[in-house]
Amino acid sequence: MKGAGKLRKLGSRLLLLLLVPGICCWASDFAALSAYHRPDPFGGIVASDQPGANWGHAIKLIAARGGYVSFQLVVKSDHTCSNCKLSIEFSQPVEVYREWFHFNTPDKHYYPDALVPVNLPYTFQMPDQENAISGQTARAFWVDLWIASGTKPGLYHGHARLLEGASSKAIPFIVSVTSAEIPAQDVVSIDSNTYGLGWLRQQYPKALNGSDRSNEDEQFHLVQQYYIIFYENRTTFHILGYSHAGYVDPGFAPELAGSGIQKHIVSWDKFDRLFGPLLDGSAFADTRRGPSPIPFMYLPINPEWPANYLWWGEPGYQTEFTNVMGEMEHHFREKKWTTTQFEMFFNQKKRYKGFEWDGDEERFPADYSYMLAYHDLLIKSLPADTPVHFIMRADVSWTMGKQMDILKNAIDLWCASGGMYVWSSDKLPELRQRGDTVWNYGGTPSVQDVSVSTAFDPLRTWIRGVDGFERWLAVDPGTTPFQSLSDGGTETLVYSGERFGVEGPIPSIRLKLQRNVVQDLDLLEVEAQRGDRDAIKAQVVRLFDNTSLAQWSHSSAPPPAGPVLDWTNADIGDALKPYDAQFPTPHPNAWQSVHDFAVEQFGGAQ
């Protein structure tokens, strides 16, 4: 997304009203900001979010039911305060977070991103000693208001209050709850991905002190916390449990013993402790969204598991594979884990020297035969009438079009490069007819990008009509994220909460914004199913960045010329430039316009 932003003709329905403060002679300012205008620690707005920003002393929001609506509160003061107190009065559930300002190394500016949960009333200091920013004059809070399903439509009034000694300031807010209901199931799967457990040991040095297998319970608990935070924020989570050379982390597979015809599962203990609560949904019992089994999960299958690579190409390989997978199917069936899609996915690349073929982003035609061979093994392992959903997934880029032909009827879930998919999008009807699921994948916007950038990939997913989008790495904030972000946070949407006394991850502003986008897409889909889908989509992209539907689905420029093996990443980047250039940098209020359209049009503002 490049180019200058354009002001939205449709004005924001988030009204920031300037009211006379209740008490004079106050040295601090207490103000409200929309969720899309992130403050900086010096009393301003981060550069990318400045267009359309309004500091308000009252706020009005419009909300659907069964979801969250968000805004920010900012305390600005040029004097120190050791006993400031924030409180909020509202009839519906309120969740408040203090915003952490990260120094972003690439552009050397501060951005708020990590959200540290606080209990109200919350007593704090100005400036924030812990954030330790020289010259800090502003602290910020993220406010999530939960509007439960079935809430009576109407106007709901609340107040945010700042106390400093005997002085008090208040920001009134009004939430117009419409009759619109956000469906429980998301129309698109926005996925957060990661690999292995090494990152956990880096981010939780206290919980996993001296980490070895004796910290297993703590590790399992932390992994589950990641599933929970992503679920609560309307994204799915994938964690791959094996390495490029085939080592399976504890708990990600049942324990095996024996060799050849004797090879079998000897214990489900660790696997069931780690994944049981996720697969039966009980891990999510305390969430706003309620218990639900995880929709997707990587299996531990790789060239080294469950069959020993030593037997590859020999009868023992098939025997070990089919025996163990047959036992796995039996266990899953007994446990009634029949909702989750269990993915046989090969992540290894030959460049990492573990195996002789690429499972991920296949480029060499000779590697396709391995996928077909493993599909055959999986089919041989399972009863024809199994109620357990074992599927085969392929992450594709260079040769996605060719793979979609050659591997048809083998691959059930295609996870296709979000950029290169533009040259294969014409295959979608055929894939749909086969019953395949189609996702795109890509990265995560930087904190220095305009806040609404988090909406782009979820929106494009829905506009394209594919089923999901995977952020390929979403849990790695770097080694010292609370001092500085070395890469703009482009590999994370969550942070470790350990330094703040939270036993697990804490969310980010970008995750919250993405969640709010998905909620609105869910609403839009309901209406699209009732009415003219194309007209609704056309209106949405017009509101978002004044583009047309055709721009989102097709590229005017062809892929690079010549054989795929001769392409470079630079060639692909060049070929995608005309497509990318169609999308201007969206205005910070761009999604607010879509939100208002979704909620107001389909729910009726009060």
Partner: protein, 188 residues
């Protein structure tokens, strides 16, 4: 998906599997495997693992594409599989988790690259890159043909041994490696 950063992080932070027994006994076992490995691993076959095309891309630098060498990395399957299976069998000699990795020099450069790794992700030298500067102990084995024991990384022991081809040339180095960090058992 481009996972190199994660991969390197994972290597640094991974809790490797464990070996049992006293250090001296461990070293003795690893040394014995290394001695046998030099006999069992066929250097001529190893020299056929990397394809000429992959080598060509390893040797060239494209300022517009940091990933071109990795994206074009390819091997001759038969040579790779034959050698990897030999390495797996050699590792099975030990009663505790061991990896046997194959290292080879990158022709026309002073670099080295790991050519085959195994399932415990153990190595004292691999930095996650396609190729890397030659570690001194690897260089020493390539020059002298002597086995060398290395215990630089905390908890890890490697015995390095030469790989020879039919001309008697030293064409590679085997890293027989284990770790004392502790899984309760082999998860595989």
């Amino acid at each position: 998906m481009k996972a190199t950063v994660w991969l390197v992080l994972g290597l640094v932070l991974a809790v490797p599997p464990a070996r049992a027994g006293a250090p001296a006994q461990t070293e003795k076992t690893l040394d014995e495997i290394a001695r046998v490995a030099t006999i069992m691993v066929d250097g001529d076959v190893c020299q056929h693992i990397l394809t000429p095309r992959a080598l060509e891309h390893m040797l060239k630098h494209d300022p517009r594409d940091d990933w071109q060498a990795g994206d074009n990395y390819d091997v001759n399957n038969e040579a790779f599989i034959q050698t990897k299976k030999t390495l797996i069998r050699l590792a099975m000699i030990a009663p505790f988790p061991v990896d046997v990795n194959l290292w080879m020099p990158v022709p026309t450069t002073k670099d080295v690259h790991i050519v085959i790794r195994n399932k415990y992700d153990l190595s004292q030298f691999w930095n996650g890159d396609l190729e890397q500067p030659m570690p001194a102990p690897v260089q020493q084995v390539l020059k002298t043909g002597d086995r060398v024991t290395v215990a630089e990384k905390p908890g890890m022991v490697s015995v390095l041994a030469p790989v020879r081809n039919s001309l008697g040339e030293i064409v590679g180095v085997l890293e027989v490696v284990s770790s004392n960090s502790a899984p309760a058992h082999d998860e595989q």
